[in-house]
Symmetry: C2
Subunit: 326 residues, 2 copies
């Protein structure tokens, strides 16, 4: 068999936390301030680390001094041309993305700062995904017009054939009517924007032509390499998982009020939830139990504090929060 090309496996971590009602991720900055943000990442070396997870934890601890708890594999990206300017001489880099959930401790921020990294709202990278205060204006003002213009252009010859046409894919990902927005389709939306050349990262990869001749705005804060795609994968996965596994509690402190829990779910799903129904949902899913104490922090009537019932596992397959409308 012929000799294979040099391969390298990059491990990438999307480290998610919720603080002050905002979903945040750890971003590693460039000390010189020249390059876009990146995720904590490093190559996988099987001689040093027996598994991906061990390697990932080591890289993250190196770059951020954070000890990760819950982690989960997202996806492996292998396309050529996604990893910035690549020639056939460079090693080919395959990216394995991971999702990590963590609580934000008070001293975490300065610890990160010493490592040229910081927490940043994930909606800085995807402003159109935050519907908590209603439908974002960019959608109708800039994004959908630009996407529709793209859908009217004939696809180039080297585009792989697809089951659905461009306008069908747009309708599916962005919703037919303004009401039918599916927050789990964040990845599909990002990939459409990328293909349409409406994302700064598309410039670095193989598709400059469609872009330079127009002055279309590039949406959201860019990231290095394919890191924003990995982040979009994390967003979709976490939003979906929220509904069938009790993962929010990885982001909550030991004790919390139901409103704080609701705020966290809203931060992640990007939607506003109906207060009364949320409470009922949580309480009769038996996911939490009262600690007995109350919190008087918010101004207003003191709220009862709850904790996650982790004995839950012994009783039945643990569910999530099947949040529905509004």
């Amino acid at each position: 068999m012929a000799r294979l090309a040099t391969l390298e496996i990059g491990l990438n971590a999307v480290i998610v936390s919720v603080a002050a009602g905002m979903p945040q991720i750890v971003q590693v900055g460039d000390p010189a301030g020249m390059k876009p943000d990146s995720l904590p990442f490093g190559p996988f070396d099987p001689l040093r680390h027996r598994t991906f997870e061990i390697g990932l934890r080591a890289w993250v601890e190196d770059q951020t001094a954070l000890r990760l708890g819950y982690i989960e594999q997202l996806y492996t990206f292998g396309d050529r041309g996604r990893h910035s300017a690549s020639s056939d001489k460079d090693p080919h880099v395959v990216s394995v993305g991971y999702l990590a959930l963590t609580r934000q401790t008070p001293d975490a921020a300065e610890m990160l700062a010493r490592h040229h990294s910081a927490w940043r709202s994930w909606y800085d990278y995807f402003p159109w995904e935050d519907w908590r205060d209603g439908r974002p204006g960019v959608l109708d003002k800039d994004m959908l017009p630009a996407l529709e213009e793209w859908s009217r252009q004939p696809p180039s010859e080297d585009t792989p054939p697809r089951a659905l046409g461009r306008s069908e894919r747009i309708r599916l990902a962005f919703g037919n009517d303004p009401a039918s927005w599916d927050e789990e389709r964040a990845l599909e939306r990002y990939e459409l924007l990328y293909e349409a050349g409406l994302i700064a990262e598309a410039l670095h990869d193989g598709r400059p032509a469609a872009l330079e001749r127009s002055s279309i705005p590039k949406f959201g804060r860019p990231m290095r390499f394919d890191h924003r795609r990995i982040l979009a994968t994390a967003l979709s996965r976490l939003r979906a998982k929220l509904k069938y596994r009790p993962v929010v509690f990885e982001l909550m402190p030991q004790a919390f009020t139901l409103t704080e829990l609701q705020t966290s779910v809203e931060a992640i799903s990007g939607r506003h939830l109906h207060k009364q129904n949320f409470r009922r949902l949580v309480e009769n899913a038996d996911l939490v139990e009262p600690t007995g104490a109350t919190s008087t922090a918010t101004g207003g009537r003191p709220a009862a504090l709850f904790r996650f019932r982790n004995t839950l596992y012994n009783e039945r397959p643990a569910p999530g929060l099947r949040v529905g409308g509004r």
Copy 2:
């Protein structure tokens, strides 16, 4: 930075089809008849193939002469020691697993035979996953006793710490009471059996000690390398996806009766479904439409033939078949 170890990426395909009411996969045999079954697989070479998917399709066509339609990435396995007898001198192999869904054509079987491969029921590899005729006897007769014996043994020192103990994990994966079986947890069940040394593959990897001193039966037909783990991943993923995306139709012919559709869903989920409710579910999910023709093949009243409404995509996010009880 120090030199990295040699890495190789293996692409593996779980090719699923349903024929004669049985879920089947393509298995590549060993012409000499000495080695266990394997999945179609081959190394990823970025110089020859731009993406994983292109490479995978090429390998599958080489080994089985099948042209794949729907494919989807499952997971990437990177543990050392999973890929049979590995020393530090061999290249480290990372496995990227894919799920492919395909219709079975009449001539496919002999085409496969010429390539030393064949269709085989996936329940040959996981007999305990087929509940269509009630709870399989092996569970209570052999598997659960063996698992419980394992759960009583103290874990060895090099076992990574876990949130849940062995008996909790068994209860969660295999159900508390006989009624609460979650068919989507096929992967968790396989991994427990592997850890407990009740799977032939565990012998080849790092854990021979616990095995050789006992004469515990090894459950299900073994496969090469970590291929059975990839197959278990496919099982879990497909069973879950069935419920929220219309993927069954990738396995159905152009026209089919509702009973045939139900049989396919039952084959995959491994459960028996309630006939009347299944029909209603399908019909008022607007997933199918009558072709007008009828089939008289089964003996009894002729059944109306249906086809998948693929215009569905234009209307709303396409759902799956949320099959519930019975």
